[in-house]
């Protein structure tokens, strides 16, 4: 027994303490509890991993049976294998840094205790998600992180847009979860279990259609959680939440849950070639699509949000072409540089007292030097600058894509170029040129810059942690010939992107506007995010609402009580008394309904009986 349960339980205790007593605690106590619980969880995870050594076989701990029926057992079982180990380190490590940062960032915000309580609760569910030994417990974490994400997006609840964004995230994720649930049922029916250790080894004997179906339904779940086409629309709006939330939940950890789930189900996907192809295509399409939107956004957090969607697309591409370990590799490096980008953006926003529009920034290089330096590290990493962390993981993915279909590699390269361009466009507009705003920028306190520095080091050097080699026993990969020319092409795409951004936004700052003028139609299409939100609104949201209003509410739900309670002249109608109510026709119309319903029922039953009898006689 390694007492794995302590890892998720420690943040849960933090949540309980801050949730119940937080209001009465001074801020320092709240911070100590919140950060302390996550640090302890990290330390315990390190201790466990050290004790477990090489982890050649998964270490499973069974705590109690959740429920059992016949041969079917669902347990509260946690497991650690190499894949979980990587995720554990990412979640607790990055989680610790972001919690520390948040102490500074949230210092002047209301709801301090509430914020940290939610953050700790999120950590609990996220750790359950990555440590679960079966799909059901994974689903518990999956739903739990969604709930916390919802609560934290809507944290600034006085802003209507924040509440809306939270709702949107929750609803879109429910659609994804619907796929996940269906997949769970199918797995239960075909495998009589939800344990990874039972289901995954058993895939070889199952028909391919079944596996394809299960894998595709799981993918529906993953597209919701990890913001892939067609369910990506919630993530950019989720940036309404406080910036540490964006960094922790909507960049480094929760949104990668879909990639983790696909990687965890790798044997299943490998036996489902159709689903694999779909995963790759969805990933690639999302990567390109989101990157083009990112080119023209002006809100610093939204740029990074679209970049997250795009980078998650890379991870799915990796999984889809069979390079699961490369996907997880990118999960880790992305966690480093994207958390850094968001925290750095938070530091900029903090310095400018809430300003998020990069058109009103500029020249901040000298005013907030630490933020500047660290953000540039993150920029180089995401652009795939040679020997930074992003360079290694992106190459791993692109080479695998080339091995699968060369055209996927080329699309990936173009996307890499765009990524470099828009990230550096954003950085140049923020830090170079002259300051265009009217605030008095000031550097953030050390609790914020400290984590930035650590993440900057990881963004630069984190690629040397060779995840694919480490994951080889769990997620085997095909050895692809290391084609140097492909690597050079991919890296140059990033360099060209950076250079182009430098040319357009530092050397010739007037040029972008002229270009926007000349390509007006295209500019507007991309600037408005291809009108996807409007499309979804017109096709799904509005018909549902108006349909419910007009058909169900007006036609079916015509209750008199509604009239009395809400209507004008209620008193007069009440005075009319009971008799009038009967005469108002509602009871009669209801009774008519009952009669029609019964007639329908009797006729239907009669027909069914006669038909079945005839069928039986034949």
């Amino acid at each position: 027994m390694q007492h794995l349960w302590l890892i998720p339980t420690l943040p849960l205790i933090g949540f309980a303490v801050n949730g119940i007593f937080g209001k009465r605690f001074p801020k320092s106590t709240v911070s100590a509890v919140a950060v302390g619980s996550v640090v302890l969880s990290l330390l315990w995870a390190v201790k466990v991993l050290a004790a477990l050594g090489s982890l050649d076989t998964p270490h499973v701990e069974q705590y109690f049976t959740w429920f059992q029926s016949g041969d079917l057992r669902f347990g509260f079982d946690l497991q650690v294998d190499r894949l979980t180990a990587v995720m554990l380190m990412v979640v607790t490590g990055i989680g610790t840094l972001i919690h520390i940062y948040a102490v500074g960032y949230m210092a002047h915000e209301g709801g301090y205790a509430r914020f940290f309580a939610y953050m700790n609760l999120f950590m609990f569910f996220m750790l359950i998600l990555v440590m679960a030994a079966n799909y059901l417990l994974m689903f518990v974490g999956w739903e739990g992180v969604g709930l916390c994400s919802y609560l934290l997006i809507g944290f600034y609840f006085l802003k209507q847009s924040a509440t809306n964004a939270g709702n949107k995230a929750f609803i879109v994720n429910r659609i994804g979860d619907f796929g996940f649930m269906l997949a769970l049922f199918l797995i239960v029916i075909h495998f009589r279990s939800l344990e990874f250790s039972v289901v995954l080894p058993a895939v070889s004997g199952k028909p391919e259609e079944t596996l394809n179906l299960i894998a595709l339904l799981l993918l529906v779940g993953a597209t919701g959680k990890s913001a892939q086409i067609p369910l990506f629309v919630w993530l950019p709006d989720a940036m309404e939440g406080p910036t540490p939330v964006s960094a922790l939940i909507h960049a480094a950890t929760m949104v990668t849950a879909g990639v983790y789930m696909v990687a965890r189900s790798a044997p299943l996907y490998q036996a489902a070639p159709l689903a694999m192809e779909v995963v790759a295509l969805v990933g690639l399409a999302t990567a390109v699509f989101a990157a083009t939107i990112g080119l023209l956004q002006n809100d610093i957090k939204r740029v990074f949000a679209y970049s997250t969607v795009s980078q998650l697309g890379y991870m799915f591409l990796a999984a889809g072409v069979g390079a699961f370990s490369a996907g997880i590799y990118h999960v880790m490096t992305h966690a480093f540089f994207k958390a850094l980008l968001f925290l750095g953006a938070g530091s900029v926003i903090h310095a400018l007292e809430g300003e998020q529009d990069i058109r009103h920034m500029g020249g901040l290089r000298k005013k907030i030097p630490v933020t500047y330096a660290t953000l540039m590290c993150a920029g180089f990493a995401i652009a795939g600058f040679p020997f930074t962390s992003g360079y290694f993981s992106k190459d791993e993915i692109l080479l695998a894509a080339h091995h699968h279909h060369p055209w996927m590699y080329w699309v990936g390269v173009v996307t890499a170029g765009m990524t470099a361009f828009y990230v550096f466009r954003c950085l140049f507009l923020t830090f170079f040129g002259d300051y265009r705003g009217h605030h008095h920028p000031h550097e953030s306190p050390w609790v914020m810059t400290g984590p930035l520095a650590v993440l900057a080091l990881l963004s630069l050097g984190g690629g040397f942690i060779k995840i694919p080699q480490y994951l080889q026993p769990v997620l085997p990969r095909e050895e692809t010939a290391h084609d140097l020319s492909l690597v050079v092409i991919a890296s140059s795409a990033g360099l060209i992107g950076i250079a182009l951004a430098y040319y357009l936004y530092v050397l010739k700052p007037a040029l972008p506007d002229q270009l926007a003028q000349s390509f007006r139609g295209l500019y507007r299409l991309v600037y408005n995010k291809y009108f996807v939100d409007e499309l979804y609104d017109a096709v799904f949201v509005r018909p549902t609402v108006t349909g419910s209003r007009t058909v169900l509410w007006r036609q079916v739900d015509v209750g008199v009580i509604d009239g009395i309670v809400n209507g004008v002249g209620a008193v007069a109608r009440i005075a009319g008394g009971v008799l009038k109510l009967i005469q108002s026709g509602n009871i009669r119309s209801y009774a008519t309904w009952v009669v029609f319903g019964s007639l329908f029922l009797i006729v239907a039953m009669g027909l069914l009986v006669v038909n079945t009898a005839a069928g039986g006689a034949r």
């Binding site: 029926s69 169900l552 009774a591 039953m605 009986v609």
Partner: protein
């Protein structure tokens, strides 16, 4: 059959919970007459609680000696015990959440508590009945008491209207049920479920057409009582107009008992023609889920919204019935238990915040509950999460088990549509969460009285129960599975 004039003591023992409840109710009526009008009637409420707790103990004790009673008119089996416990628990929670509400409305009379006991006794008869006439008698005892409870506030027009609608439409639907019973008796010459089943299974048994007709007529009655579409339209009006604790009660107890007899009748005697009624239940289930969820989307009144939500939940349970398997029956049982807890809990919160004359029953009136009464808000969050079907709550497991049973019975489309429905449903529950936590307190929550002890007990007991069913569902589920097997399938 030659009936023994004096039933054996064990038979009386098997009827003990209902005896206790009926005597308790009568005692309260007498005590009510003996005490003056001016005296507070909380003591009578305590008496009803004592009777309910005694009945609960008796129900559990009676489970030790299962078997038939009174010439096989009643049957104590695991299924009966399960539902007895559920309906008695609903009664207990209702009484706890009624004290403050009644005294606020100046209607804290003994008769209310007596009616709760009578209604629960009727439900006890329903769930133990092994005989069509007993089913009918139980249903009427329970229903009539509930009609009166709905009209308890004599000066309130809404409550009167609600009671009258409930009564008229309820009687109408019960008439259909009675027709069905008559048909069945005509077809088989008996009203005993076991005997009917034997007749039905015989080669020279009644014609399927006659059986089908009886099933259709009985379905009207059952469909009404469980508020399944297309017989759902009374529910929103009645739930909205009735005093909130009564709404809580009738959305849980009578509904669970109605489902119990529905399940028992359809799973035992109509099982041989199961493939014929399955499509109808299929349509009922889908229609209930869809109408319930989509109509709930546009409501602004919490009680009316929860009424539509309860129609949708009836649809989920019908999915389990549609599965026509032991697992399905067990899933329905588990779901009803979870549903009873979460629904009573949610309505108890409404009873707390609604204020005198039920002034604050809009969704917007929940604004700021999160900051003003964090504990109440937390409890409501648990209920809502359970209604949505978030893991670690009873509602999740219930849904999980129901749809698993449905898929195992190859009801693929119903499962897909049902799950889509539950995705839609998340939206309107979420709206309450949003208002509660993300709005500044309004008039309703600014002036909240301290949480009364009775309500507190009801709230936290149901919240704990919902979590218990979500985290440790094992034993209850096992019990349900065992009990479901008792039907000779």
């Amino acid at each position: 059959m030659p009936a023994n004039l004096f039933p054996a003591p064990v038979e009386i023992f098997r009827f003990l919970p209902e005896i206790i409840l009926a005597l308790g109710g009568t005692l309260i009526m007498v005590l009510e007459a003996l005490t003056g009008d001016r005296q507070p009637k909380n003591a009578l409420g305590h008496v009803s609680l004592a009777a309910l707790f005694a009945a609960l103990v008796a129900a559990v004790a009676v489970h030790g000696s299962p078997g038939p009673a009174f010439s096989s008119m009643l049957l104590v089996d695991g299924f009966a015990t399960f539902f007895r416990v559920v309906v008695i628990a609903v009664g207990i929670l209702t009484v706890f959440s009624s004290y403050r509400y009644l005294s606020r409305e100046g209607a804290n009379t003994g008769e209310y508590y007596a009616l709760v006991l009578f209604s629960v006794a009727g439900q006890g008869v329903m769930v133990t009945a092994n005989e069509l006439i007993m089913i009918f008698i139980g249903l009427e005892i329970s229903s009539i008491a509930t009609y009166v409870m709905a009209g308890l506030l004599r000066d309130d027009a809404r409550a009167n209207e609600s009671a009258l609608k409930y009564f008229l439409l309820g009687s109408f639907a019960t008439a259909f049920l009675l027709y069905g019973i008559a048909f069945l008796y005509g077809a088989t010459g008996t009203t005993n479920l076991t005997a009917i089943r034997e007749t039905v299974l015989r080669a020279d048994g009644p014609s399927p057409l006659l059986l089908g007709l009886a099933a259709a007529l009985m379905l009207v009655g059952f469909g009404f009582k469980i508020s399944s579409a297309p017989f759902q339209m009374w529910a929103p009006d009645v739930y909205q107009g009735a005093p909130t604790p009564v709404t809580a009660f009738m959305s849980a107890g009578p509904k669970a008992a109605a489902f119990a007899i529905f399940l028992r009748v359809f799973v035992t005697i109509f099982e041989p023609i199961g493939d014929r009624w399955e499509p109808i239940i299929w349509v009922f289930a889908l229609a209930s889920m869809t109408i319930g969820n989509f109509a709930a989307l546009t409501q602004s009144n919490v009680k009316r919204m929860l009424a539509y939500s309860s129609i949708a939940h009836a649809g989920y349970v019908l999915v389990a019935l549609c599965a026509r398997s032991d697992i399905g029956t067990a899933a329905a049982m588990f779901y009803l238990a979870a549903y009873a807890l979460m629904n009573v809990g949610a309505f108890a919160v409404v009873a707390y915040i609604c204020g005198k004359g039920e002034k604050y029953v809009g969704i917007d009136d929940l604004a700021g509950l999160g900051s003003r009464r964090p504990a109440v808000a937390a409890a409501l969050t648990i209920f809502l999460c359970s209604l949505i079907g978030v893991p670690l709550t009873g509602g999740f497991f219930g849904k999980f088990y129901i749809f698993k049973a449905a898929l195992e019975s190859k009801l693929i489309w119903l499962t897909v549509l049902g799950l889509l429905n539950s995705a839609v449903a998340a939206y309107y529950y979420l709206r309450m969460l949003v208002v509660m936590y993300m709005r500044e307190p309004g008039e309703a929550t600014e002036n909240l009285e301290p949480l009364p002890a009775g309500l507190r007990t009801a709230l936290f007991t149901s919240a704990a129960g919902v979590l218990l069913l979500g985290i440790f569902p094992s034993r209850i589920l096992e019990f349900a599975v065992q009990s479901a097997k008792l039907f000779g399938r």
